[in-house]
Amino acid sequence: MAFGSVVAALTALVLLILIRFLYILRWSGKPLHGKSRRTYSTLIVLGSGGHTAEMLNLLSVLQKDRFTPRFYIAAATDNMSLQKARVMEDSLIDVAGVKVEETAKYLQIYRSREVGQSYVTSVWTTLVATAHALYLMILLRPEVILCNGPGTCIPLCAIAFLFKVLGIRWSSIFYMESIARVKRLSLSGLLLYKLQVADQFFVQWPELQRKYPRAEYVGCLM
């Protein structure tokens, strides 16, 4: 008898998760209706190379009082991105000319894999990075995630999706493919596009929009 109840309970649980999963897929990518807020806590994923410059460029046209508090995250081995974000935040003054309250947080996350690292050891480091991402996401539970390509965004977006399924937090994920990607998507972009994890997926060159029709072509940002 007990065995039968366990099976029934497990089946019910699996069905529930499946239904929830389908619900997420149905509503992902649809503009928020009825869930609109005045402010959104925002996780901003930075990266080495041009990624941080492009992200800060995007932030410069977003109204800061709508996207607050802001959490900046970069790989532990990236020495410059968080500093650049700090400089930008420190320079913010609001309409009245008053310095904006310092609510921004700056965090580091372990990289899944360093450039040139062997794939064998990468299995372990990816697990560590994912566990770290889970810890940070539980801490932050952002309502909006902005990312533009660094591999560090993958574990974070995966967990954000998990949180959606489990009903822990609904994060709107906006992915902006880098301007350096003209004909092919980056690995991060490809993953998020194919698995339909991002709510909105932006590309900066027209050929990408032709190849990936669910992407939104927005022209060059830089």
């Binding site: 995007l58 003209v182 830089m222």
Partner: protein
């Protein structure tokens, strides 16, 4: 006064930058007599090399024998001033360096680092070269690009705009249009 003034050309600086990367092939290429003679022939007087994490150190020169004045450094908190005072920029293919230079309206030769695996940087350099905003060159053929280039024919790059993305994001989240 006197003869010292004659034959003194206005200073025209070539700035070479590899960003935060290691790009020995480019530093080596600009350290060759071939390239430096070509730059001199095109009217440039000074060469400043930002070598980043490179392991190859170029030779300095004070240009006494009429050749280029050559200097180098590894990093600088901001290369904007070097870009501003340059008459020609030779850069690795990083998007940050490329757009920083294009925004300042400087003639630009982009050199792609073929030693990088999964070289996605070529796409951007080639696209912008096709649109005539810059020249693209391989390290070994740099001297040829310098010899053949016509910087007057380069088209100015009009800065992009992040506003369309902001509009999409705002609309998605239910904010009224600005």
């Amino acid at each position: 006064m006197g003869d010292a003034e004659d034959g003194v050309r206005p200073k025209r600086t070539v700035f070479v930058t590899v960003g935060t990367t290691c790009f020995d092939a480019l530093v080596r290429a600009v350290d060759t007599r071939e390239v430096q003679q070509e730059l001199s022939a095109r009217g440039y007087t000074d060469l400043v090399i930002q070598m980043g994490r490179g392991t190859y150190t170029p030779k300095k020169s004070n240009g006494e024998d009429g050749s280029l004045v050559v200097d180098y450094f590894t990093f600088s908190p901001s290369i904007v001033d070097y870009l501003r005072s340059a008459s020609l920029v030779i850069s690795h293919a990083g998007s940050g360096s490329i757009f920083e230079t294009l925004r300042l309206g400087k003639p630009l030769i982009v050199v792609v680092n073929e030693d990088l695996m999964d070289n996605h940087q070529t796409e951007l350099a080639e696209e912008l070269a096709e649109r005539k905003h810059l020249y693209c060159a391989r390290p070994q053929a740099l001297y040829k690009t310098i010899a053949d280039m016509d910087v007057e024919s380069l088209l100015p790059y009009v800065s992009g705009d992040a506003a369309p993305v902001a509009k999409h994001i705002n609309r998605f989240l239910g904010f009224p249009d600005d």
